[in-house]
Amino acid sequence: MTKPAHAAEVGDLIVITGHYVGESERVAEILEVVGEPPDERYRVRWDDGHESVYFPGSDATFKHSVRPPGTRKAKR
């Protein structure tokens, strides 16, 4: 259960993979980065619409969103 190294930003996606076959993955969009490395947490909106603060585990992967140059939001 080691914490993954990452540098996520607002707008990026967090994907939580299942631990076994058949377990569905969960996806959330980062709305806010809370805290400083290496102890960031993320205010996120999940694919079912609910919002929460998420502290990632080793099963979380980050997918950087693709934005036009100059439009990347600043980390809060």
């Binding site: 939580i16 805290g35 947490r41 929460s52 603060v53 998420y54 585990g57």
Partner: protein, 158 residues
């Protein structure tokens, strides 16, 4: 910032153990079924924790919001007939860091034994009160079992 006490001690323990969690704020609820309702979840996805007194100390029993504790099974599991629900006065003295009725199965207390109803393990994730009636935590059921060193047993009424 993320959370005032008492949830703060909970999330600190989770983060120290590198355990993933979700912290969810919601309107005040005083039952686990109501907590499930405001979160848009099924009652089976939310755990309620019942604190019991025994001659060997406190036991925290967690089961699905939709289930009822079976004291017959509980006494058999614990090997004693002297099992009682903790009164509010006892709870206030033993768990001053948590709101009354919002004791979670982890942190606080001193060496409490934790029992998890086996039905909880049917879900990959479980939501539980974060020591208050307005904040919840969602974590992997397997992480909850590991973190609390819980016994997985059949606690609920058939």
């Amino acid at each position: 910032m993320i959370a005032p006490s008492p949830a703060q001690s909970l999330v600190k323990q989770l983060e120290q153990a590198s355990i993933a969690y979700e912290f969810i704020e919601h309107p005040r609820t005083t039952t686990a079924t109501a907590e499930a309702r405001v979160l848009g979840l099924e009652p089976r996805e939310v755990a309620k924790t019942v604190v019991l007194t025994t001659p060997e100390g406190f036991v925290r029993a967690a089961l699905r919001a939709s289930d009822r504790l079976d004291f017959g099974k509980l006494r058999e599991i614990l090997g004693t007939k002297d099992v009682q629900l903790a009164t509010e006065a006892v709870l206030a003295g033993a768990y001053p860091e948590f709101e009354l009725g919002a004791v979670p199965p982890l942190t606080g207390g001193d060496g409490d034994r934790v029992l998890l109803d086996s039905h909880l393990s049917e879900n990959d994730w479980v939501v539980l009160e974060a020591g208050t009636h307005e904040q919840s935590l969602r974590l992997r059921t397997s992480d909850l079992i590991e973190l609390t060193d819980a016994r997985l047993v059949d606690l609920s009424q058939d």
